[in-house]
Symmetry: D2
Subunit: 278 residues, 4 copies
């Protein structure tokens, strides 16, 4: 029976890697559907993403590849499996709505396990799509207590990625570390410009002629994680910061969905504070 | 005889300004070729740029307009006159070259009085276009002494604007204040991201997916002056910072020339730390 | 009591128009919140959009303006009123979904009266938002008969604009003429490139490096109506036409929503086969 | 002694190609500096561009690769060599000027053998850069006779590519066929929109909101050759077609230089009427 897998390799660079890897595929009579590599010469790192088809046992393929790769290689042989995501939201609906619509028409390559909101404003929208919504209020709780509630909820769910679809709470290091490389955020500016609160107001006050949006993995440092995708929108002196905010939403939702799609397709390698996007 | 003028008004907002101003034009039987206004409601400021043609005495027109404008209005009646610019350069030729070519084919709406370089590398290129080049070396001089030489040279020249076409020296406050609102710089990043030295290296290290260029008026605060124009260029993980730098040059020269063209056409109002661009 | 109105003027150009119009506003003690004009010199046409506030009777204001305008001027004094739209759809959900989400969160400045589909695939999505969906099937009917059914349905509804949100049927001249300047379409290419069927396949076969989307008013000539907004998305040789189509959807929905927003805000003048967008 | 070569392969797709090719590199102890492949599944074609370094004889490397490639493979082993270009121009200087500046500062990876103009307007500019300029006038000659003169001149020169830097003459099929895949043109529109004469006027009359520029290889069919690069510039109703033309020039020169750079770096494969750009 024909199988299909994405082979992802992230390892120390070495001579002959392409040869050795492609020899494994060739010896096992696999077809290469798609192949992309990148060598970061400064860091001496090798990245490869290959889609193979043929008759093979994923475990066996992984073992044979491991034999030819440098030690400490990060190898993943990913067979087709529908991924799952959990969304965290606050009050704004545009990023969430875009994902819900894509989910509803089958374009999103993942199932939405649940949406968790620190407000309940978006519950109605989420329920329209028959997706579970959990309201975890912040009132009466410290930041740590509230996050504890969120983590307990998340840990009961099955998921591959947590998507912050305009979740307007700052996460603590313990949250971020618990879900390392699994949290994707949309920041409403062209990072690293306008880190922090109300970037549109900052952009308005600075008088920029272009605003942007940035989707990135979340790390300890606020708005400093590896960038997956960015986009920009031209503005001018006629726009108030509220109008910039409105104009910027289109960029935010498109960039988040594009980044999410890349991640769900296993096209993104995290490499220090950067990404390799194939 | 038919005259033509650009009327630029920057004043406190007040009721009936458009009526009163257009009444002056109407009473003098002038044609409005082009008209744009903007009211900054927050600051309660009114900006207007009108191109008028007809039979009129500019001084008289200014007087009549002054009569209907709020006190302290900044009014300029600009009759057609070829402007002059002085360029400051260091070693990179792309921004300078773009301006020289536009100058040579008549597209630049100004004459280049001179190019001043703190290195003499670009002298050959400038001489090819029969433009005076002055080399004011930095070796053996303090920053203040060197700038003193540059200012003395500039003050002997006739100019409307000083264009920093990749001039890689930081200007002192006394230089900046002496030529207030007259210095245009191209910064090789999407400001306010990557202020300061080597923004391409900073951009590379941050792993951004888009780089940019920003043309702005120079003020005391490094890279903080009013932005005139910006543009962006997509990049990816495959580019070294040197390759980003090379890719970014196209953006730099285009943005600088576009901003220069706007300024030379009297289309830019400076308003605090922002610009109104008509 | 304070009133507010958008004054839209489209007339033959003449000397003193700005003066005469602003005099009417001034004499009635109105505030100008926002004002934009444009003169098409070739066509000798004058366009103006002014937002005024103050104490006034719209009918009276219109009468006084009419007195100072050239004969045959097209004058509209539009007081705040929530507009209504009808959507026509086929099978694709992205453009419809984007409008439904904006509608649900209050960002769309109109109510959706109904969605009419020639298929019933999108009924479920529309019903999730408590918006009426009418399925008018094509099977067993000639193009004319089917359109007759659609027109009968539309005529029973109250609406300002008909939005073709990926409605994949060609409209007959009688339909188009009946709703002149009221039908907005999104064409999935950068018009005038790739007119007609399957523009993504055409784009793929031509090997373009950028694809686009165009929102326009519908006229008799297929895909030839006045363009309201356009946007582009970079592509490359690695994309199949189906992948171009998927990538292009983001552009389509954003451009359609942006155009719709402009039209609903009365910012678009139709001028021959072009638009003036303020 | 260390050598370096770009290996370009364009052949029928087959199983194990990557393995067989990388085995040749591995057996010869070569380093892969950079590698990109693409398989066009529809056409069953394989494209690969690899930069290798090491100790090797190019002829030998080519022979060994030929042995493992399908018959009829198009294989090129390109060792470092400065390329040469010939420019054809008419009256406009922006595209020519951009290339001359890049040439002068060492950014262009080619030498300019000569510039040939059907007018002599640009002679002065070209001579400023000590580049030979040949004026081949059209007056008194038929299209065929004029082209005969141009071809005779070109054939005496040594060149890799002919660049039409705003050469406003239509080439005959015999000219195009003589220099197949060697002629690069910049068309001043977003092809395939506005084929033919005065695309800016066409764009103006159509009322588009975005204009573009397209660099492509020249084939028999006017403006129908394989596209190498495209870019766009936003416009609006305020621009006359002459202003669109002026705004468009920036796009034209940047796109032409970018395309030229890709071609000079052997990054472009022609595949039917399309390009693969690595």
């Amino acid at each position: 029976m024909e199988s299909k897998a994405k082979v992802l390799i992230d390892c120390q660079d070495a001579k002959g890697l392409v040869y050795k890897i492609s020899k494994v595929f060739y010896d096992k009579d696999l077809n290469i559907d798609n192949n992309r590599e990148f060598v970061d010469k400064e860091a001496e790192k090798f990245f490869m993403r290959t889609v193979v088809t043929g008759k093979f046992e994923p475990k066996e393929l992984a073992d044979e590849l491991t034999r030819v790769l440098p030690s400490n290689a990060d190898l993943r042989v990913i067979t087709p499996r529908r991924k799952k995501i959990v969304l965290l939201v606050t009050k704004e609906s545009h990023a969430l709505g875009d994902i819900l619509i894509r989910h509803a028409d089958g374009e999103l390559e993942a199932d939405i396990e649940a949406v968790i909101g620190n407000h309940n404003i978006l519950e109605e929208l989420v329920r329209r799509f028959d997706v579970p919504f959990f309201h975890i209020p912040t009132e009466g709780f410290s930041r740590e207590e509230h996050e504890e509630h969120v983590m307990r909820m998340i840990d009961e769910l099955c998921f591959d990625y947590i998507v912050l679809a305009k979740y307007m709470r700052i996460l603590t290091p313990s949250f971020v570390q618990r879900y390392e490389k699994k949290i994707i955020n949309i920041h409403h500016s062209f990072l690293p410009a306008f880190i922090g609160a109300n970037p549109y107001k900052q952009a308005y006050e600075r008088g920029v002629k272009i605003i942007g949006a940035t989707a990135h993995f979340v790390t300890d440092d606020l708005d400093e994680g590896p960038i997956i995708a960015q986009d920009v929108i031209p503005v001018n002196h006629r726009l108030s910061w509220q109008e910039m905010q409105r104009a910027g939403r289109d960029g935010e939702k498109i960039v988040l969905s594009r980044a999410l799609n890349l991640v769900l397709n296993d096209r993104v390698f995290v490499h220090g504070n950067k990404t390799i996007v194939f």
